[in-house]
């Protein structure tokens, strides 16, 4: 039976109303075809490309453009974007607020990107803070997070969290994490982000932001702990931490049916535990046997989890 026939059958049986059937038929026959996602993707790519071009142009041509022209242009973009957002935004609410216009979220993102380039340029040219240049990161992260909450903007929230990571010294690349001191910084960052996310959730302020906080926090903390097991000193301590955090991620993920956290926990814990065990094994046979047995155990565990809690109808 085709979808159209099935809809007609449901309508005849009274399972759906005539109006519902008509609306669904229009979708199935593509008489109503939404390009919402495609337009959003184009707008987002456009803003990112514009921001990247802005940064590149400032870096390459600051000498010919002149400091005043650059600072003024960037400031105009920032002011224009913020003025657009403040003039059109709905009053602040602690709950979820829909963007008032299609371009709203992206205009705010553009303003924030231009602000970042502006700050970078000011420090690059005038070296106001010199060794403490990273205070710019803290200030801009604070501004981005405030704007994200004010305008309920997840893109800017992510920008704020990544800028905060920059201030903490965390780089989202393996090289960064495997550098000794970076691990502790990443762990502190992950813990702070998780704490702030949970705290805001308890305060009932933008509760829908919690998952974004937890994704970032879980990855930063688990990656740091796993890298500590692989290349750190006091590896058993790192391993104990990894097992505890991974267990919490898995348990919370299963309970809340947020399986991304289950996968994070399993994956990072497997990497860390495998690194520790294989470093103590000798000979190819024992190492390969370990991988066969351990991976079978993980598959069995995940299969059981998928059977009990992860079933899709």
């Amino acid at each position: 039976m085709t979808t159209l026939e099935q809809l007609e059958a449901w309508r005849s049986a009274g399972a759906i109303t005539d109006d519902q059937c008509a609306a669904l038929l229009a979708l199935v026959r593509k008489q109503r075809f939404s390009v919402h996602l495609e337009l959003n993707a184009l707008l987002y790519l456009g803003v990112l490309a514009f921001g990247a071009g802005l940064a590149w142009t400032v870096r390459e041509h600051f000498a010919s453009l002149g400091d005043a022209a650059i600072v003024a242009s960037l400031s105009v973009i920032v002011a224009g974007s913020l003025s657009y957002c403040f003039s059109r935004a709905a009053p602040y609410s602690t709950g979820q607020v829909a963007a008032p216009t299609f371009a709203f979220d992206y205009v705010l993102l553009l303003g924030c990107l231009a602000f970042g380039v502006d700050l970078w340029f000011v420090e690059f040219r005038f070296q106001l803070l010199r060794e403490q240049w990273d205070m710019y990161l803290l200030a801009s992260a604070g501004l981005y997070l405030a704007l994200a909450y004010r305008f309920d903007n997840r893109l800017v929230l992510s920008l704020g969290l990544s800028t905060l990571a920059g201030w903490f010294g965390v780089r989202f690349s393996p090289e960064g994490f495997f550098a000794g001191a970076m691990r502790r910084v990443a762990l502190a960052y992950g813990g702070s982000v998780a704490a702030v996310g949970v705290w805001m959730h308890h305060l009932a302020v933008k509760r829908h932001f919690l998952e974004a906080y937890l994704h970032v926090a879980a990855n930063a903390a688990l990656f740091a702990l796993a890298s500590g097991v692989i290349a750190g000193d006091a590896r058993l301590l790192w391993l104990a931490g990894l097992v505890v955090v991974a267990a919490v991620a898995i348990e919370r993920g299963v309970n809340a049916r947020r399986f991304a956290f289950v996968v994070y926990g399993v994956l990072y814990a497997y990497i860390g535990i495998s690194a520790e065990i294989t470093s103590r094994l000798h000979g190819e046979m024992s190492i390969l046997s370990y991988y066969v047995i351990s991976a079978v155990a993980v598959v069995a565990g995940l299969f059981a989890a998928s059977w009990v809690v992860g079933r899709e109808e």
Binding site: M1, T3, F33, R154, L155
Partner: protein, 390 residues
């Protein structure tokens, strides 16, 4: 031949649609639950993330088991290694069949990884057993055998990525014959083109109903493949693939330049006419690649403001299109609407926003320690530039 009946495949797709319609408020929750119950099958599916994790760890099991066999029996020669791979491939297929039969698995990750492993292993096995050497011949045999095996995996289990893999393997065989670059690329494009025509013919026959939806994806993938092998500057648009710009004759160079404009344009026109989402997504992505590779094709130097122009073009185009669609009767034109209908779109955008932490993080580089002298400090701005150096 297929492990799952067409009726079951249709039910699964309709179930997903009913879920989307319920979340979009087009059906009441109780209606949605009742209709989904009516569409329930005996097959067991799982969450996509658990599915991916299951596939990953199953692949680890297979790879470690094959290496363990080779190590345990001290297998060194090519033929015996090939035989082990062939035995392992048969075991993988048998286990996948057993799991699907015994546990009624459907897109559960485990059976998918086993089928994918079988494709890789049968290719290695045949190439090793047939003493294919040097490496170019070995890879040629591997690609041909893997292509056939992947095709079989699609026919048997309906794994769409296996069908795409089969076409990609077949097309890449053309690069294993040390032919001139234009010949290799033309043959590869012809393979993708043939796949496109086959998929398109089948798609037109079935429409959007299963298996027409699979053919639509295949058609879009084949279109992307044709474009990617013809665009000799593709590494300018996708730097991480690490390809250089090949040396090709002028006729081929300018022919491919024309193709980089014609393929996205034709695909976009077809996608709009047929309201084909897969082809629409691919054609937009290819059009972006064309815009990015246009200057390198024409031998023009890239300017720092090029991304700004591209960005303004994309954002301006999206906004103009949105306004134009909104201004139509009932906010739509020709059936196209800019309004969000399904909640799934919102979920995708939220996930994208969260994931954007990864690429935003790359922007926080410290400013260089020794800046060039400032206009203000040097007096270029005002004071007739008295203190500036040149």
């Amino acid at each position: 031949m297929r492990r799952y009946s067409a009726e079951v495949e249709r039910k699964i797709r309709l179930q997903a649609q009913v879920r989307d319609w319920t979340r979009a408020g087009l059906l009441r929750a109780d209606q949605g639950a009742a209709l989904r119950a009516e569409l329930r099958t005996d097959l067991r599916r799982t969450n996509d993330l658990l599915r991916a994790a299951l596939a990953l760890f199953t692949a680890i099991v297979v790879a470690a088991a094959v290496f363990l066999m080779s190590t345990a029996f001290e297998i060194r020669d090519e033929v015996t290694t090939g035989a082990v791979c062939l035995i392992a491939a048969v075991a993988c297929v048998a286990l996948a069949e057993y799991l699907v039969g015994a546990f009624q698995l459907y897109r559960h990750g485990i059976e998918e990884a086993l089928a994918a492993a079988a494709v890789v292993l049968v290719g290695v096995g045949v190439a090793d057993v047939s003493h294919a050497s040097p490496f170019l011949v070995w890879s040629r045999v591997w690609l041909i055998v893997a292509s056939i095996a992947a095709c079989a995996a699609y026919v048997r289990f309906g794994f769409l990525y296996a069908a795409i893999g089969a076409v990609v393997f077949a097309a890449f065989t053309a690069f294993q014959f040390q032919l001139a670059e234009p010949v290799s690329r033309t043959i590869a494009a012809a393979v993708f083109g043939a796949a496109f025509l086959i998929a398109r013919t089948a798609r037109i026959g079935h429409g959007d109903e299963f298996p027409g939806d699979e053919y639509a994806t295949l058609q879009a993938a084949a279109c992307a493949g044709t474009y990617l092998v013809l665009n000799v500057h593709i590494s300018d648009a996708i730097p991480w693939i690490g390809l250089g710009v090949p040396s090709v004759p002028a006729w081929f160079y300018w022919g491919t330049y024309a193709a980089t404009w014609l393929i996205p344009a034709a695909a976009l026109a077809t996608a709009i006419r047929e309201k084909d989402r897969a082809l629409l997504t691919v054609s937009i992505a290819l059009a972006l690649c064309t815009l990015v590779t246009n200057k390198p094709y024409l031998g023009m130097t890239r300017q720092s403001w090029d991304p700004m122009i591209l960005g303004a073009l994309l954002a301006g185009g999206a906004l103009a299109l949105r306004r134009w669609l909104d201004a139509g009767p009932s906010g739509q034109r020709g059936g196209f609407t800019a309004a969000r209908i399904l909640a799934r779109d919102r979920d995708i955008l939220s996930a994208l926003a969260t994931a954007s932490v990864a690429w935003h993080a790359r922007a926080h580089e410290p400013p260089p320690q020794q800046p060039p002298s400032s206009d203000f400090a040097g007096g270029r701005s005002g004071g007739a530039g008295g203190g500036a150096t040149y």
